[in-house]
């Protein structure tokens, strides 16, 4: 039993770490600001999510009762991450950051109308 739980915990930690890694690779590899913005959203959702599930499993099976306060981390991340992404994107639009040439639909952007 002990071993199965430990294997599961390890599995979830690895999944979380893998997604955080992919998110960071995206951050380094993608060519423009708006595309790079997609990297961190992954790291915060599945990356942290995997670690949290691992932590809940580990601390809940040590005989001290259910441990669920890790879920709060996910909850607050889910509330704050989209807001910060939105603000970053808005600032980038305002500063007219350059986008990759093949980006479509740029004609309709509300750029710089805040002056």
């Amino acid at each position: 039993m002990e071993t199965i739980i430990e294997a599961l915990v390890a599995l979830f930690l690895l999944i979380g770490a893998a997604f955080a890694l992919v998110g960071s690779i995206g951050l380094a590899k993608l060519p423009d600001f708006f595309m790079r913005l997609h990297g961190p959203t992954k790291a915060t959702t599945l990356g942290v999510g995997g670690m949290i599930v691992g932590s809940v499993l580990y601390f809940s099976t040590r005989g001290e009762g259910l441990s669920l306060h890790e879920l709060l981390v996910t909850l607050f991340l889910f509330i704050t991450a989209p807001v910060s992404a939105h603000m970053l994107a808005k600032a980038a639009l305002h500063l007219r950051l350059r986008t990759v040439e093949r980006t479509r639909g740029e004609g309709a952007l509300p750029r710089g109308d805040a002056e």
């Binding site: 959203t41 709060l72 639909g105």
Partner: protein, 165 residues
């Protein structure tokens, strides 16, 4: 007897505060349940004036189902985007998409925008000043119309059922 709306203006918020309190202390002891209940009743009362307009949840069960749906989609979309990121960058077709909103209330628009940002592959970047459209940046789209239809049918329609009519 005072009308329940007066002393319990946001029943769901009260419940959420109670659950938050219990989770923070990681316990179910009677003292914490009572104190959590007290906080859950007092905090909405004291902050009520700061609420721009009180969002009314008409179907709490649908809200729970919506949360599960979004969680599932986050899982699936994460794997898809991971594949996109690890694949060749040259093949990606990023695009800005103007998404026409049917929702009218600030709170439900916020929820929709957050959903769009949380599901990987799309980030909501701006709301038009008249609140009739959202600007979305998508990492890889072939067909903007299909993306709009997908969001409309999968996220916006349930949200409208929960909050607006």
């Amino acid at each position: 007897m005072i009308a329940p709306r007066r002393w319990l203006p946001h029943p769901l918020l009260s419940l959420l505060l109670l659950i938050l309190w219990l989770l923070l202390f990681n316990t179910l002891s009677l003292a914490h349940v009572l104190f959590g209940l007290l906080l859950g009743i007092l905090m909405p009362l004291f902050t009520q004036r700061f609420w721009p307009g009180s969002p009314r949840v008409r179907r709490p069960l649908h809200l729970a189902r919506y949360a599960l749906l979004v969680l599932g989609d986050i899982l699936i979309a994460n794997v898809q985007v991971a594949r996109l990121i690890l694949g060749p960058v040259k093949k990606l077709h990023p695009a800005f998409v103007i998404y026409p909103l049917d929702l009218r209330e600030d709170f439900s628009i916020t929820l929709l925008a957050s959903t769009i940002s949380l599901t990987p592959g799309t980030v909501s970047a701006d709301v038009s000043p008249d609140r009739r459209s959202l600007l979305i940046h998508a990492l890889d789209v072939d067909d903007e119309v299909a993306l709009i239809a997908h969001i409309k049918q999968r996220y916006e329609t349930p949200l409208r059922e929960i909050f607006e009519c």
